[in-house]
């Protein structure tokens, strides 16, 4: 079947309200900014999203044409250098809204949604560079939600020469773009199988971070992945689960996320999950209270032991050897299934 043609760069830019300006946008006076960016504005004199996108695009245009050297600055610095002052001049600087987060969202939109640029085009510096490493076993990736696990990740990377990445609390498209670039520089075939070992909180937010990481890898070309969740209730005894558990917040805004998470949890059949649910009566209704586990609730020693069991057999294997290994595992699983059916 004929593949649907991607809209042209021009039309994607037009749709996003981005176009070329001869003038340096961030240097222009208020009147000029209002004249050029008032279309679609509601709360402020200018359309903030459109203004941000155009400044980003103009910066990229100038760098790509060689009119300006690559930025080599953090996104946060870009915000102060080009965006904040322009918004202030246009009378559009918010007091309560986090407009830096809005800038990040707009850049993610330009990179992932309309695909008109890459972070490296502008040369943004990766604030997380120190927390990632590509090893000789590049397709084996141990990652954590929090920077607190960095020392553990480094120890494992030193021992087994695998790739590691500490996400720093939230998934960043920029981090993953640069991480995948490092893999490409190391001549790693992105089409091969990648095994991901995750250290994220056992709760809806932790799994959202994990899924975003996997999706971002997919966006940059790594789609054959298998994830091992190292933080799960079966890594602890029932007594330990009871001691480590904490109540998962359940405001209205989180209800759907919590339900989706629980559905995913049930698919995994963790034996000790039953210690993380409690039914209580509230307002004459039976309600389910959910509990989670922090990534830190499982000791490094225990995580290392688990990695030895599930990760080490995968090390140093070519794609063909991995396939043979997995077929042997499948053979064993089928034999177990036969015994189970017969007994």
């Amino acid at each position: 079947m004929a593949k649907k043609r991607k809209p042209s760069l021009r039309s994607r830019l037009r749709k996003a309200g981005i176009r070329h300006y001869d003038e340096l946008i961030h240097d222009q006076p208020q009147e000029w900014l209002i004249k050029n960016f008032s279309q679609g504005a509601d709360e402020y004199p200018v359309n903030v999203a459109r203004l941000m996108r155009n400044i980003v695009w103009q910066t990229r245009e100038r760098i790509v044409k060689g009119e300006k050297p690559p930025l080599k600055e953090l996104l946060r610095t870009f915000w102060y250098m080009y965006i904040k002052s322009t918004l202030s001049r246009a009378g559009a600087l918010a007091r309560e809204t986090d407009q830096y987060a809005q800038l990040i969202d707009n850049i993610v939109f330009m990179v992932k949604e309309i695909k008109v640029m890459k972070y490296k085009d502008i040369g943004f510096r990766d604030d997380n560079q120190a927390n990632r490493r590509v090893g000789a076993n590049a397709n084996i990736i141990l990652f954590s939600e929090k920077l607190g696990h960095q020392a553990f990740l480094s120890d494992i990377a030193d021992k087994y020469n695998i790739s590691i990445l500490a996400l720093g609390g939230q998934p960043s498209v920029l981090n993953i773009e640069y991480f995948v670039d490092t893999l490409k520089e190391a001549k790693v075939n992105l089409q091969r199988s990648f095994y991901l070992f995750s250290i994220v909180d056992y709760d809806p937010s932790g799994w959202i971070v994990r899924d975003a990481f996997v999706n971002n890898l997919k966006f940059y070309g790594i789609s054959h992945t298998r994830v091992f969740d190292l933080i799960n209730p079966d890594m602890l005894t029932p007594e330990e689960v009871m001691l480590a558990k904490y109540r998962i917040k359940a405001p209205k805004s989180m209800r759907t996320k919590n339900e989706n998470w629980l559905r995913q949890v049930y698919k995994r059949d963790y034996q000790n999950q039953r210690y993380l649910e409690k039914e209580t009566w509230r307002d004459n209704k039976l309600k389910k209270v959910l509990y989670g586990l922090e990534g830190e609730s499982i000791s490094g020693k225990r995580l290392a032991k688990k990695l030895e069991e599930v990760m080490v057999p995968l090390l140093g294997k070519s794609e063909d050897l991995l396939k043979i290994y997995e077929l042997k595992q499948l053979d064993k699983a089928i034999k177990d299934l036969m015994i189970y059916k017969l007994t």
């Binding site: 004929a2 298998r226 995994r268 059949d269 794609e319 290994y325 499948l330 064993k332 699983a333 089928i334």
Partner: protein, 122 residues
């Protein structure tokens, strides 16, 4: 000598059987849900393709039988092949397993092990 007309090289457009608005309205009115345009388009694309493939298969079958009419005996196996297939032969199962990449093979093993564990936990 007049030049021979050359056939257009453009690939034939796949036939459109399902209407976007019909699906949207059904989801709205009957399922009482909203739907993203992207999801509906994907749904339509897959079904249009399956309908096209099924009809082609049925046509082939009736032609082999030297008929100009598509009948039950043509459409039933075509439906089975393109839409209603639930069970694979063992050869097809093996083929399907062998073509998986290592990570997906691992997921199959895990699913088998989970099935056993679930049964043992009963």
């Amino acid at each position: 000598m007049p030049k021979k007309k050359t056939a257009s090289k453009a690939a034939p457009q796949p036939a459109k059987f399902l209407r976007f608005n019909a699906i949207k309205e059904y989801i709205n009115d009957n399922l009482k849900m909203r739907s993203s345009d992207k999801a509906v388009k994907k749904f339509i694309k897959e079904f249009d393709s399956a309908i096209g493939a099924t009809l082609k298969e049925a046509k082939k079958s009736s032609r082999e039988d030297k008929r100009n009419t598509i009948m039950d005996q043509d459409i039933i196996p075509a439906l089975e092949k393109h839409l209603g297939k639930k069970y694979l032969t063992w050869q097809e199962t093996v083929k399907e397993i062998i073509r998986q990449n290592p990570t997906d093979l691992g997921k199959i093993s895990k699913a088998v092990n989970d099935y056993i564990e679930k049964g043992q936990g009963k």
